[in-house]
């Protein structure tokens, strides 16, 4: 169990807060004194999952470090929508350099903090493009040196900042501007892409985890745990993108939930390269429920017949469920 579940039943146990709970059991986001590290007035799309994810992560890290935190940001949506001069939405020390070098810049900041003995902690953050693709070299270097940085990838499965192109985190069959839904195998080809969490684990990092904006308790527990480790850590946060995926702006969290509960996005954590726990699926759903809600998969549901691609995607989900042990016993209620 990745986050400590509340044993005694409470009304709305999985909600952000709960008036019945002790403060220590509520999420950081329930607190009136949360840092709001990413504050109002930013220019993210309505219903932006990344804006949510970044505030969740940084506010938690701010609490975990007593506010002694610096953030380094890769180029991308998160950077552009938060800091169009002359206004910034950040309320913590924040540095943006380039698209592909966030991990290395963070290494530099961490080195400065170490040499000055300040104890200030460092988070580097970027989208999936800046993490899995252009920034992967710097990131791998930061990993293998075990620099004291928590790298957070906000994964919206594509290059949304530049207009929704494919990244190596784009899922199979998804339509993007560079994997159009035409031809024999429409959308992103199967058998491509990479799992950064597994690559991070291969670096034998002290801590690697995946999290999602729909389960705040789980996400915050992971950030808190990550900040308890020294050295290089990696957190991969699933952040749906209403624009890039094509869904109504109010369904961001719902989509994140469906992705996890169908098994396509497994929530787990790994210590020293070994998976140590996973967050069980509470109400399992078929991948259909997740895919149908998005325009980027609409071509799978054009005809009268179920597309065989859906079956392949279900197989991927089932494989995750088996591999990460996402279902215990009966597997929650369907």
């Amino acid at each position: 169990m990745s986050s400590q579940r509340i044993k005694f039943y409470q009304t709305g146990t999985f909600t952000v807060g709960n008036r019945l709970l002790d403060d220590s059991h509520r999420t950081v986001q329930a607190s009136m004194t949360r840092a709001n590290a990413l504050t109002s007035g930013h220019r993210a799309c309505q219903g932006c999952g990344e804006a949510l994810g970044a505030r969740y992560v940084l506010d938690t890290a701010m609490r975990a470090t007593g506010g002694n935190l610096i953030a380094v940001n890769a180029t991308g949506c998160l950077e552009v929508f938060t800091t169009p001069s002359p206004e910034t939405a950040w309320q913590l020390p924040w540095l943006h350099s380039l698209f592909g070098n966030a991990a290395a810049v963070a290494t530099g900041v961490a080195a400065a903090m170490r040499v000055k003995g300040k104890g200030t902690r460092v988070i580097a953050q970027g989208g999936d493009g800046g993490t899995t693709d252009i920034g992967f070299g710097c990131l791998s270097g930061m990993f293998e040196r075990n620099d004291d940085v928590l790298y957070v990838c906000y994964d919206n499965e594509g290059y949304m900042n530049t207009g929704v192109q494919r990244s190596s985190a784009t899922p199979p069959a998804a339509r993007t501007a560079t994997t159009p839904a035409v031809g024999a195998e429409p959308g992103n080809p199967f058998g491509t892409g990479k799992s950064l969490p597994l690559l991070a684990m291969a670096h034998r990092l002290p801590y690697v985890a995946t999290a999602s904006v729909f389960d705040l308790h789980d996400l915050e527990a992971k950030v808190t745990r990550a900040m308890g480790f020294g050295g290089a850590r990696y957190l991969h946060v699933f952040v749906p993108c209403p624009l890039g995926w094509g869904f109504a702006t109010d369904r961001t969290i719902e989509l994140a939930r469906l992705a996890a509960e169908c098994g396509l996005f497994p929530l787990f954590e790994a210590i020293d390269g070994e998976v140590t726990s996973s967050t069980p699926i509470r109400r399992r759903v078929p991948v259909d429920a997740y895919l149908r809600a998005q325009k980027r998969f609409a071509h799978l549901f054009d005809g009268d017949q179920a597309d065989p691609v859906v079956v392949r995607l279900q197989a991927l989900a089932d494989d995750n469920i088996r591999r990460f042990k996402l279902v215990d016993g009966a597997g929650g209620r369907p």
Binding site: S85, T88, N101, A103, G108, V109, K116
Partner: protein
């Protein structure tokens, strides 16, 4: 105190005395000896406190320095050639953010064809990246310029690239005086950043700037360079006062007073040129030389002053701007705008080809007689060129020119 030292080692030692707090290194010839020396000085505790970080690429090397500098640490790295181009976007970024990183550039040709020897192609490729570029004319200046560079960088909050000719200077072993720690400490105050990442006073550094302010941001970068034009001579004077030698300047003039012909160059070729000038003076030619130390900012006024009395100028430069001629000569012409004197461009010493006193004398003599073309390639193997061009005429595709020419050269032998 003079010691017989390899220049790279002396640079490592002087860098250590500048007390950088973060040193990032990615090996590339010919700067490797510098960062190797630093790694030893950090490991043995000579340089402390300091974080020495072995990175996986030049992009990371300068990025780490960038992060460290933004977080308030004095940061240093070194690179050369392809390495500089690999980190190119970070080079622009460091200056754009106004971070006073100091970087040694062991000047080296840029491939292909791959070539590890000296010329200035690398520095010229990034001359407009917003960094201050200082060229060392000799090994001692290479050492001294680093002390000056840190102070200049931090005063202006602008990065400085110290350009040291690869092998020719970096690997030269000679008597060198490494500035003493006390003197360095007195000359170079601790780093007080203009902006810093500080949880007690948070700021966002690196905002996206749109059309409404980008021009102004760029103007201010230019303004910093203009300020450097004023500060460099002052710091050079300070340096002379404390260390007792002339290191660092906008430019160094040599026998220019009554010269009709003045040679302009940068880097290690300066010494050879001065010898050639002496010989030609002895032969009665009114010739002199100017060695540019500052290439960015470009000392337009100082250079115009130094060249004011000449009837012609010969720019000897270790780089080629294909399709134009020389980057340096174009800049020199800016200094002489409005003056009806010819500026001859001589491309010399590319990819490590020795620039010899004899060649230089031939060049200067010819120029002095206005018997050179506007663009001259010193010591060009015209036979090889002619044969290859003939082949080009026969067939559009004749195989790699470099291999053809090597084959010809073997035949010729």
């Amino acid at each position: 105190m003079l010691k017989q030292l390899e220049c790279s080692r002396a640079i490592a030692e002087v860098i250590a005395r500048c007390r950088p707090e973060v040193v990032c290194a990615y090996p590339i010839t010919p700067q490797t000896h510098i960062v190797e020396g630093l790694s030893e000085l950090v490991r043995d505790g000579t340089l402390a406190p300091c974080e020495y970080i072995n990175v996986e690429s030049e992009t990371s090397a300068l990025s780490v320095a960038l992060g460290a500098s933004a977080a308030g640490a004095r940061a240093y790295t070194a690179t050369a050639s392809q390495g500089l181009l690999h980190m190119a976007e970070v080079v622009y970024n460091v200056s754009g953010l106004g971070l006073p990183v100091v970087m040694t550039l062991g000047n080296r040709a840029v491939g292909a064809p791959i070539n590890i020897w000296n010329d200035h192609s690398d520095a010229m490729a990034l001359k407009d990246a917003g960094w201050i570029q200082l060229f060392a004319r000799d090994a001692q200046e290479a050492v001294d310029l680093h002390v000056l560079a840190f102070r200049l960088a931090e005063e202006l909050s602008c990065p400085v690239m110290v350009c040291v000719d690869g092998f020719v200077l970096t690997h030269s072993v000679e008597p060198l005086d490494v500035p003493a720690q006390d003197d360095v400490d007195a000359f170079l105050p601790p780093y007080r950043p203009v902006q810093v990442l500080d949880p007690t006073d948070p700021v966002s550094i690196g905002a996206m700037v749109g059309p409404e302010a980008f021009t102004e941001v760029r103007y201010l970068a230019h303004h910093k360079q203009l300020q450097a034009l004023e500060r460099i001579p002052q710091l050079a004077a300070d340096f002379r006062a404390r260390f007792g030698r002339d290191s660092g300047a906008l430019l160094h003039g040599y026998r220019t007073g009554d010269a009709d012909t003045i040679v302009v160059a940068m880097g290690s070729v300066t010494g050879t040129i001065e010898v050639a000038i002496d010989e030609l003076r002895d032969a009665g030619l009114a010739v002199g030389a100017v060695a540019l130390c500052a290439f960015r900012p470009f000392p337009l006024a100082a250079l115009a002053g130094a060249l004011g009395g000449a009837q012609r100028v010969v720019v000897v430069e270790r780089n080629l701007a294909p399709g134009l001629g020389g980057a340096m000569a174009s800049n020199v012409r800016m200094a002489l705008r409005g003056q009806p004197i010819p500026v001859y461009t001589a491309i010399a010493g590319l990819g490590g080809r020795p620039v010899t006193r004899a060649s230089l004398r031939r060049l200067i003599e010819a120029a002095h007689a206005d018997a050179v073309d506007d663009l001259t390639f010193v010591d060009l193997d015209n036979d090889a060129i002619d044969r290859e061009l003939a082949r080009w005429d026969e067939r559009r595709r004749s195989g790699p020119s470099a291999e053809n020419m090597l084959r010809d050269a073997r035949r010729a032998r």
